[in-house]
């Protein structure tokens, strides 16, 4: 059996788009993330959305919806107005100058902020850097665990 260029072109187009259509029907064709973090499987926070699974593509509104944190608190923590915070994506933090070149503020900072805000302790998460404004918001509004509060106090020292 011989394959010519025309036949191959038709085969590729039909089977590529056909394969994608079938995978869509089967629910396998996903090209964007669902903006819902995985849930924690064990320990005190079992069943809770995992802050460590927050992705750079999450908007602050996704974080608000998943972790029940007011948009105003998220905005204040990262020096954004509430209207800016509504459309802000976690990965965009890297482009903001927080005035301290020693600190790497990015998606990891959001994960840590959320984790501390909902009461998780430092040994349950991957630590990152936080801007001073986030530390202030956490101390005033967050449901801080004792170890998280001690950790933040140490940072300030």
């Amino acid at each position: 059996m011989k394959i010519r260029a025309y036949g191959l072109a038709i085969f590729l187009i039909v089977f590529l788009f056909g394969g994608i259509a079938v995978s869509q029907q089967l629910g396998w064709w996903k090209t964007t993330s669902t903006k819902v973090p995985v849930t924690i499987q064990s320990g005190d926070f079992a069943g809770q959305a995992d802050p460590m699974d927050i992705r750079g593509s999450y908007k602050f509104t996704d974080i608000r919806d998943n972790f029940d944190i007011p948009l105003a608190d998220l905005g204040s923590a990262f020096q954004l107005s509430e209207s800016q915070a509504a459309t802000f994506q976690a990965k965009e933090l890297e482009s903001i100058d927080f005035g301290d070149p020693q600190k790497e503020i990015g998606t990891g900072s959001i994960r840590m902020f959320v984790a501390f805000y909902i009461g998780m302790s430092p040994d349950q998460i991957t630590l990152s850097d936080l801007p001073q404004s986030a530390i202030t918001v956490l101390k005033e509004k967050g449901n801080l665990s004792e170890s998280a509060r001690a950790y933040l106090d140490n940072l300030n020292l």
């Binding site: 059996m1 025309y6 590729l12 995978s23 064709w29 090209t31 995985v38 990965k91």
Partner: protein, 276 residues
């Protein structure tokens, strides 16, 4: 009769270019749509998929994570696994046709190569010493192993930092690492001198799909009894395979572009063909 055969050849050469343009445009429009989405606009009927979601190589790097933890590597979506499956089926049937017919980065290198051919004429694709080329063509296999290893170790898509495909369709976004832009620039510049430099020497997906040349069902076959030994197939092969040297092409570099066949450069009908 002669004229009909010539017209048929021209059509045959055009069809692959048309398919390449369709897929290049689809990916470019999808990338543009992803950017427009951030400012509240979208192009009707065009996907808003992430670019990583539309490359089968994402499926390769996430397999380890999928097997060991049941999750996909960050930035990779299940569509990459679907595309990997389809590219795998195509390759087992026809060899790495994904590279020569569908991959937009491969197409762009090829188009720049046509420009290089016009500039340098016969010197095009002959700048590298054959011995050096023979060494370089194996480099993409360690690249494949390295990318799979570092992704498995880190759980992150570190390859995105050097990936010219991602850089090509995202260079304006500020999300592309400088190394990736440099590699893209070198690839595009290199394409003016050498045929598909990224595909031949560095592409890890090309490395994986090339292995199907050992087992593919439809192969490039030469019929020695009708071959006039003009060696036009050898000169036409962008991968510099000596098609005239054997009756079946098994070289791992073959990407099934079909330029060597009787539908294209081979002047004798039914002599060099892709067949079972």
């Amino acid at each position: 009769m002669e004229k009909t055969a010539l017209a048929s050849r021209k059509r045959s050469q055009r069809i692959r270019i048309i398919v390449q343009i369709i897929f290049f445009a689809l990916i470019a429009l999808t990338a543009l749509n992803g950017y427009l989405e951030t400012i509240g606009i979208s192009i009707p009927l065009i996907s808003q998929a992430s670019l990583h979601a539309l490359c089968p190589f994402g499926g390769v790097v996430t397999i380890y994570s999928l097997v060991t933890t049941g999750t996909l590597v960050q930035k990779i979506h299940s569509s990459s696994l679907v595309l990997l499956g389809l590219a795998g089926i195509f390759s087992i049937l026809f060899g790495p046709v994904f590279c020569s017919w569908l991959c937009p980065l491969g197409s762009l290198q090829e188009w720049l190569g046509k420009l290089g051919h016009k500039i340098f004429k016969k010197r095009y694709n002959h700048f590298l010493h054959p011995k050096l080329e023979n060494i370089l063509k194996w480099f993409r296999y360690p690249v494949l192993v390295w990318v799979i290893y570092v992704t498995a170790q880190s759980g992150q898509l570190l390859f995105a930092n050097v990936d010219p495909y991602y850089a090509l369709f995202n260079f304006w976004s500020g999300e592309v690492a400088i190394q990736a832009i440099v590699i893209l620039g070198l690839t595009l510049l290199g394409s003016l001198f050498v045929e598909r430099p990224w595909c031949r020497f560095a592409c890890p997906l090309g490395a994986l799909l090339s292995l199907t040349n050992l087992v593919r069902i439809f192969r490039i076959r030469r019929e020695p009894s009708t071959c006039i030994n003009c060696k036009k197939c050898d000169s036409a092969c962008p991968m510099k395979i000596r098609v005239s040297g054997s009756s079946i092409v098994r070289d791992l570099s073959c990407n099934s572009c079909m330029r060597c066949t009787s539908d294209n450069v081979c002047p004798v009908p039914d002599t060099v063909e892709m067949k079972h």
